[in-house]
Symmetry: C2
Subunit: 249 residues, 2 copies
């Protein structure tokens, strides 16, 4: 899909609460959309528990394989926040109290509230670069090509949007959506033929049930607007040929 | 966390649409909750694109590591539905038109509607066992310890709930939740000490911002009700000692 030379990424979602179904992850869909805009290809995401050896393994398996690794979750002040220490271990480096992080947190907390537990969030791997947290003070961390974000979506989103100048992107991925009342089985043959003619446009077919009605959302993705438009027009024609309705565009 | 002898699982979520942020996965949180009830420990989840070699690698890396592998997504009739064929290749077996699957689909489709594209969903790896689909006919697939489900949550949920007798579970994971208006930094020290005394209770701390107010949800998980209750009581006492409020229980 898209430009072969586009930079690549992996997202590592760290948190027991995602795995046992208590919390619905919301960071991946945010990051996925941003990667399209930036022209970064997300190769995969992995969701792992708050377990040191799992974090170390996931970081070390990813950071040499792709251009950018993003972790979310586990950088707060409590006992189950072990991401920073684990990522430091993945790189074989120590953490140390970071004055820049302490200063950032001092601006956020009322006098006397920056206790030792909170200061744990200022223990940063040596040589790491901080990622500014405009919401709650405690910074994220960049070590080489690994970017460490918190789990709370609001904070992660603000932090990510403040650091994208550190990322070298590629051609943005452009998207077109067509919804139809036809079902996948009706569309499949013609759609497959269009896909065969457009190997530079990724055509996804996503069935839906809405208010008791079946239909399909078709999503086309490409870095080339002309090819995207042409594929979209062919899909429009296919839907009409099959006596279907184009429900939105 | 929990019983060391509990069966283990991996979930493989297959779908470009999840990675590029168009679709919010809803199957993991459903499966995660069911695994708790069944006493199955979810070791990790991985989200990969609709790419054959990625699917083959993910299935083969997982199926010898854990007791159960569950895949979601990519078993429909369109060109981008390549999960069945890829899983078959992971096992080195062929697919063939399966009469039991054809019969199941014939009950669902109106006469004449079961075209060749739809019949692709009846092409099943040789020797596989079908998983009944009470919603839309086309079955899921079990090959050894690998269970192949569709992506549409409503269908996957119905199919999963109809096949749990094939799974050997462990001790169910019991959960208790306590919400408080205290913040993580205030709770962290005392909470860490409680966690140290309860290595058979996993205590998770999840900060929230709701209607402009900060607070924490604490989630305790254990297979032992008495230990769970005792840890919960200690956390209640901690919150009271810190002049916090217990907001729900």
């Amino acid at each position: 899909m898209g430009n072969k030379s586009s930079p690549t990424a992996v997202v590592i979602i760290i948190g027991n609460e995602i795995l046992f179904g208590r919390t619905q992850d919301a960071n991946l869909s945010f990051l996925g959309k941003r990667f399209d805009e930036l022209g970064i290809v997300l190769k995969q995401a992995i969701i792992i528990p708050d377990v040191e050896e799992k974090i170390i393994a996931a970081v070390n398996e990813s950071r040499h394989e792709v251009d950018y690794v993003f972790t979310t979750g586990g950088i707060g002040p409590t006992h189950d926040d072990i991401t920073t220490m684990s990522v430091a271990k993945a790189f074989g480096i120590e953490v140390e109290r970071n004055q820049e992080a302490v200063d950032a947190m001092n601006k956020y907390y009322e006098p006397g509230k920056l206790n030792e537990a909170r200061l744990k969030m200022a223990d940063i791997p040596k040589g790491a670069t901080l990622i500014d947290n405009p919401i709650s003070g405690a910074p994220g961390i960049q070590i080489e090509n690994v970017f460490v974000f918190p789990g709370v979506p609001l904070i992660t989103q603000a932090m990510f949007d403040g650091m994208t100048d550190r990322l070298v992107g590629g051609l943005p991925v452009l998207t077109e959506n067509i919804a139809t009342n036809l079902t996948e089985g009706t569309l499949a043959e013609g759609l497959g033929k269009i896909q065969d003619r457009y190997d530079d446009v990724s055509i996804g077919s996503y069935p839906y049930f809405k208010k008791g009605k079946l239909g399909v959302n078709l999503v086309m993705r490409s870095t080339d607007q002309v090819r995207l438009d042409n594929a979209g027009n062919e899909i429009d024609d296919l839907i009409k040929d099959l006596n279907g309705q184009i429900l939105n565009k």
